[in-house]
């Protein structure tokens, strides 16, 4: 980490909780270049030769290991598309931490489009954490368009924590997942937009095998003049169960379009969707004010809790 400056260090900390070199396997990328990589006996990382990006291969039976692949951009005007493929063997139990931080103090737009594909072997468990963060007071936009594809073999479990709380001007998030029998997908997305930000988040989860299940929950807050479109769709092609939920708070002139949708193509598919959008309840503010908080402090506490 000695090659990186203070801004990059701060970005690494925001997106991957990294204060130094992480344990286990990692690939650190800053301003379009790999600045550090470590592989382990069970986890191999190779650069792709045709496009920008890496292949991460995790051997069958790998347990309690982690891979960190954070990316930071601190150079204004940089635009990149990066393709990262994860091949997770059978019977693994691993943590994968990704995420991207952009600091743009310049006038040109900075953009990082990460395309992540996961191929998860039978009975493996993967926890995936992805945080996006933007900072810098330049007029150039901070743009992130992540694409995530998840292909889950029988009996596998994937838990995804997708967080974008601050500073990203424009984002189009697209996540698709295909689940075979008894596979289980859990998604917890947290999104906050402010200023004039625009965010779109699309999920398309296909439950292909009997016994597969998905629980996709998005909690979001739109403040100032920001706009969000949340499009969460679960397709049931087998005897499966799926639940999707968009729960949102709007503030100021924030706008949100929530489109949860379900498609059942099998008589034994049990699918549920929920969506709620509203402002912070006046009673909640009043309660916290009777505990001595100002209205602004009360709002902050309510949002922090909601997005926790």
């Amino acid at each position: 980490m000695d090659k990186i400056d203070a801004v990059q260090q701060r970005l690494f900390k925001e997106v991957a909780d990294l204060h130094g070199i992480p344990e286990g396997a990692y690939n650190l990328r800053a301003n379009g270049e790999a600045i550090g990589r470590n592989t382990t006996a069970n986890i191999d990382i190779q650069s792709k030769t045709d496009v920008s990006g890496i292949d991460i291969r995790i051997k069958s039976g790998t347990k309690n290991e982690s891979v960190h692949i954070p990316v930071v951009l601190s150079q204004s005007g940089l635009k990149e598309s990066v393709y990262n493929d994860f091949f997770v063997g059978e019977d693994c139990d691993v943590l994968i931490v990704a995420g991207c931080g952009i600091d743009n103090c310049g006038s040109q737009d900075s953009e990082h489009d990460g395309i992540h594909r996961f191929y998860i072997g039978k009975n493996s468990r993967v926890k995936y954490v992805e945080k996006h963060y933007g900072s810098g007071d330049g007029s150039g936009k901070r743009i992130l368009n992540p694409v995530t594809e998840v292909y889950m073999d029988e009996g596998s479990t994937m838990e995804m924590e997708m967080v974008q709380i601050k500073g990203v001007d424009s984002t189009e998030r697209s996540t698709i997942a295909e689940l075979k029998g008894d596979a289980k997908l859990i998604v917890r997305e947290r999104l906050m937009t402010h200023g004039k930000q625009q965010a779109g988040s699309i999920y398309k989860v296909s439950l292909l095998g009997d016994g597969s299940s998905a629980d996709v929950v998005s909690r979001s807050v739109a403040r100032d003049d920001s706009y969000q479109k949340l499009d969460l769709c679960i397709i049931g092609d087998a005897a499966c169960s799926g639940h999707t939920e968009c729960d949102s708070i709007i503030m100021d002139n924030g706008r949100i379009l929530a489109v949860p949708s379900l498609e059942a193509n099998n008589i034994d598919a049990a699918l549920v969707h929920e969506a709620a959008i509203g402002k912070i309840a006046g009673e909640q503010l009043i309660k916290l004010m009777t505990l001595g908080l100002t209205e602004a402090e009360a709002e902050e506490q309510i949002i922090n809790g909601f997005l926790k």
Binding site: E283, L291, G292, Q301, N304, F306
Partner: protein
């Protein structure tokens, strides 16, 4: 400690102005346990909200420990030491019981300190401390957490709006114990409870009966309670069912 000087509150409904509180004057000294009772719709809850600043008086003034708080915000009154437990506590998605107790205490309460407050309201602390205050909690549970938030604050005046509403009989016994403990804690503080319950009236120093926005009776428990026993202002635990 608290002085209400001829306060009034009126609300608009269907184009008409209706007087909810009609010129109430009241003096609440330190270290008193006051129970306000009276028929439903008589203005009890509104009076409590006027003291906490949740509603603003149309006329009159409120003096708290020598300071005129009539035009002060809810926040400023809370910071001066006024605590309020709502009749119907609100829920918060994502916020945990520990979070709200820490906000109430105004400091990074340790887990064991927070657990003490929960135990006081009869909740098994371990089970609740990290629970979200969401729809998964029953009405009785949120009610007890609400009372714990007032206990966690070091208030000079604690106001409880119908604390017994929505809690079961076992918790009700516990509630009486909490009030008894609060008054015997030796802290300089007064407690105002809005309640119809005879058992709460039984531990009052003073009882105030409010009907139609006015004080209709006021005095020591010994004098007032015999006059109102058996009426809507003083019912036993099952009174609401009868």
């Amino acid at each position: 400690m608290l002085e209400l000087k001829n306060i009034s509150f009126s609300a608009e409904s269907d184009g008409d102005t209706k007087g909810i509180i009609r010129g109430i004057s009241l003096n609440i000294p330190e270290n008193k346990f006051i129970v306000i009772t009276g028929p439903n719709g008589g203005g009890k809850s509104t009076l409590a909200k006027l003291i906490a600043g949740i509603e603003k008086c149309s006329a009159g003034s409120i003096i708290f420990n020598g300071t005129d708080i009539t035009d002060m915000s809810i926040t400023d009154r809370a910071r001066l030491g006024i605590g309020f437990a709502f009749q119907q506590p609100v829920r918060f998605k994502g916020m945990t019981v520990l979070d709200i107790l820490r906000i109430a205490a105004g400091k990074a309460l340790s887990v064991s300190e927070a657990c003490d407050y929960l135990s006081e309201v009869g909740l098994c602390a371990k089970e609740y401390i990290n629970r979200e205050i969401n729809a998964s909690l029953s009405g009785g549970e949120v009610k007890r957490i609400e009372i714990a938030t007032v206990l966690a604050r070091d208030v000079k005046l604690a106001i409880f709006d119908e604390p017994e509403a929505g809690i079961d009989i076992w918790s009700f016994n516990n509630l009486i114990r909490i009030f008894e403990k609060m008054r015997s804690s030796g802290k300089e503080r007064s407690i105002i409870v809005i309640s119809h319950q005879e058992r709460i009236l039984n531990i009052a120093d003073e009882i105030i009966v409010i009907a139609d926005g006015r004080i209709v009776k006021q005095g020591a428990r010994e004098a007032v309670l015999p006059e109102i026993t058996g009426t809507e202002s003083a019912v036993d635990v099952c009174g609401r069912i009868k």
